[in-house]
């Protein structure tokens, strides 16, 4: 038995983390947002070159086929760093095409998604909100329980930016007139997407906890680090517990990406635990920072906003609780 990522993936994680922290040290993402640099094309090109976008794309379509463990790990690190690139949108679009695309669709888009030459996005809720729809080349659209591919350079496509929670990514209202139907079933795609997003959420939880831990150790009140007050210590311990429970559920989700026998349960549990942990960590990270946490410059809000956006982005917890308990109920009948 081996319930951990492979040692190869562990080694790769070091590299991914180093590159992200070199490129986006604390404050850098917010400054990019403030300066209107909403899409860092240089960094995006670098991700393509490094092969991070194609780890789960078959080799014949330009991917490295390193596998889902690697993809989950990268999603976690990206979720922690929040770089201004359309990572999760693009890998989920690639995932939809890998699973459900025709040969022609795969041949046309996967190589470009694997290198970052093309950007993907998801439109799962109708016209809006479509995250990263402003810069995407294709959209995976859900309608009436089916999935569709929409190429966004066509006539009839309109993208209208709307105000949404996330501070880094832009959402649009997307309208279009032509779409190609994909073969797959929506709930299976949502399950797989939920697991990948859960790793993003786990990464965000870890980052928010790290911020809170760091600040609580540096900030003094009443002549002592605020981290020495049990009210703070125990809260941070509880966030750590939530993080570990989320991580363990997400790991089982990563396993279920390869062996789908238990996919709906693994995906639902991974998503529920990760949404809960990230919400808790993001909100208490602000609170631990006190008044400073409430300032734009503290960066705390990047996670607070992202946590909520991710929590509703693939349906909110209600959908996943129903899915989880329905399956467990059947299994125990």
């Amino acid at each position: 038995m081996n319930f951990d990522f492979s040692e190869d993936v562990g080694a790769m994680r070091e590299e991914v983390r180093r590159i992200l922290s070199d490129k986006f040290p604390r404050g850098e993402v917010r400054q990019a947002v403030d300066a209107g640099r909403r899409f860092d094309r240089d960094f995006w090109a670098l991700l393509g070159e490094m092969g991070w976008l194609g780890v789960a794309i078959p080799e014949e379509h330009g991917g490295s086929a390193l596998g889902y463990e690697a993809l989950c790990m990268i999603a976690e690190e990206v979720g922690a760093a929040l770089p201004p690139v359309p990572f999760i949108s693009t890998i989920l679009a690639a995932e939809a095409l890998t699973l459900f695309g025709s040969d022609a669709q795969r041949a046309k888009w996967l190589p470009r998604l694997a290198t970052g030459e093309a950007v993907g996005c998801l439109a799962l809720a109708g016209e809006l909100p479509v995250v990263d729809g402003d810069i995407a080349d294709i959209a995976i659209v859900a309608r009436d329980g089916d999935l569709w591919l929409v190429e966004l350079d066509q006539p009839g496509v309109v993208r209208e930016p709307i105000e949404a929670l996330d501070a880094v990514r832009t959402s649009v209202r997307l309208t279009f007139t032509a779409a190609e139907k994909l073969s797959g079933d929506l709930s299976r795609f949502l399950d797989r997407a939920a697991i990948l997003v859960a790793f993003e959420q786990v990464g965000g939880t870890r980052a928010a906890l790290d911020m809170a831990v760091g600040y609580a150790q540096e900030r003094y009140a009443f002549g002592r680090a605020i981290a020495s007050f049990q009210a703070i210590k125990h809260k941070l311990a509880d966030i750590y517990v939530a993080l570990e429970l989320a991580r363990s559920n997400a790991y089982y989700g990563a396993y279920a990406l390869e062996d789908e026998a238990d996919l709906p349960v693994a995906a639902s549990a991974a998503r529920l635990a990760a949404s809960e942990a990230y919400s808790l960590a993001a909100k208490e990270n602000i609170h631990t920072h006190g008044g400073m946490g409430f300032t734009w410059e503290s960066d705390c809000h990047l996670h607070y906003r992202r946590a909520r956006e991710l929590a509703v982005g693939l349906h909110s917890s209600r959908y996943w609780r129903d899915r989880l308990i329905s399956h467990l109920d059947k299994a125990a009948a």
């Binding site: 009443f222 002549g223 006190g290 008044g291 300032t295 734009w296 809000h301």
Partner: protein, 408 residues
């Protein structure tokens, strides 16, 4: 128990209502406004304050000498209840009339008493509070802004933060350190400062919502005459506490979505063909918020009853803020989740209930911090109500300049 007014109360309520009816429209149902104050808003607030003062409704508890009514706490409560029903301008006078002037009345010199209270009451002068600092939040007495005596003046250097309405304020209530070589509470002194004094710079703070309701105030060699000192040198902590104690009288209901709003949302939202309000999990959350909302409402009534019986307001206000701030954050989060994928939309033109819940998500964190963090409030309840011991003090018995400080 009796929810009806005594004859005296009923008469006062009728008087208040007649005044309000004559000047202001009733609030629209479900109206929630939350935006930064404009100069026009301030002008409207000043005009309304003057009108209230001229009609004896601004300083209900104030002495007649300063333009007050010398009324009863119950009258103040009644006027507050009635005013809350009308679409009156957002006030910029809570700190001046509610907190600063009662403090001036406690510690002011005859000259100060002649100069400050009346213009504040009549809406001519706005006051702000200059207490918190970047390194002195929950530990307010850890403040570092220095005042050094120079002849008849004091020279101030340092930085204050979280000042509301600093840009609109004519005067500030300022507490600074005049002696870092003694224990932290002992080395403070209090001043009234004219906000137009050279060397004062005001910078708005951009909040996580993107808007700015607070400012940082920087002091660079700001000279204040000793005549603007309030209380004795070294007595600043006592003056500051007096001012904060008056805050208890001014704490209102938290703005933003409350039970009624989340109920309304649950009535609108469809979950798989049924209204969300009919869903058992939604009901469980709603019921939890209702008992808190009602519990706070009746706790406030108990407190007002005690006030009307002549008791001082106690630590129950700590409960009100602790519960309502956390409830607000929960309701905002839940409302967004209930909207499912559309919950991420903040645009008031598209979002359900004009983005009320999304907006609240972004200011709710401040409610758990401003005016006492959750942790400070729990300490107050534990120590002042339940009589539990204070936290062990790492700074006990140390001179201020010997107290350990961190990187922030």
């Amino acid at each position: 128990m009796d929810f009806s007014d005594t004859p005296e109360e009923a008469a006062f309520r009728a008087e208040a209502r007649a005044f309000l009816d004559a000047h202001m429209p009733l609030k629209a149902k479900g109206a929630h406004v939350s935006r930064a104050m404009t100069p026009e808003d301030v002008a409207a607030s000043k005009a309304w304050q003057r009108l209230k003062a001229e009609n004896g409704f601004a300083g209900i508890l104030w002495p007649k000498a300063y333009g007050g009514r010398e009324g009863t706490p119950m009258q103040q409560i009644i006027f507050g209840q009635e005013e809350d029903r009308y679409a009156v301008p957002t006030t910029v006078f809570n700190q001046g009339v509610g907190m600063a002037m009662p403090t001036v009345m406690s510690f002011g010199t005859p000259d100060q008493l002649a100069r400050y209270p009346r213009p504040a009451l009549f809406g001519d002068e706005v006051w702000c509070q200059l207490f918190s600092e970047p390194a002195a939040g929950s530990d307010l007495a850890g403040l570092r802004t220095r005042a050094v005596r120079d002849g008849d003046d004091w020279v101030i250097n340092g930085q204050k933060i979280w000042t509301s309405y600093a840009h609109f304020a004519d005067f500030g209530m300022l507490v600074v350190r005049t002696d870092p070589g003694v224990a932290k509470h002992a080395g403070l002194t209090f001043f009234v400062v004219d906000m137009t004094t050279p060397g004062i710079e005001i910078r708005p703070i951009k909040q996580i919502s993107g808007s700015s309701n607070f400012s940082e105030v920087f002091f660079t060699d700001v000279r204040i005459p000793d005549s603007q000192r309030l209380g004795a040198v070294g007595e600043g902590w006592k003056v500051a506490l007096t001012m904060l104690a008056n805050e208890r009288f001014t704490v209102g209901k938290a703005e933003g979505p409350d039970f009624d709003d989340v109920l309304a949302l649950a009535q609108q939202v469809d979950l798989d063909g049924t209204r969300a309000v009919d869903d058992s999990a939604v009901r469980e959350r709603l019921a939890g918020w209702y008992i808190r909302t009602a519990g706070l409402k009746y706790t406030r009534l108990r407190s007002q009853t005690a006030l009307s019986r002549g008791k001082a307001p106690g630590p129950e206000n700590s409960i009100l803020k602790l519960v309502s701030a956390n409830k607000l954050q929960e309701i905002a989060t839940f409302g967004i989740d209930l909207m499912d994928m559309a919950g991420a939309i903040t645009d008031p033109e598209i979002a359900a209930m004009r983005g009320l819940f999304q907006q609240a998500l972004l200011y709710a964190p401040s409610k758990r911090i401003a005016g006492g963090t959750d942790e400070i409030l729990r300490n107050i309840i534990a120590e002042r109500v339940l009589g539990l011991p204070a936290d062990i003090r790492a700074d006990k018995g140390l001179a201020f300049n010997q107290i350990p400080t961190g990187a922030r």
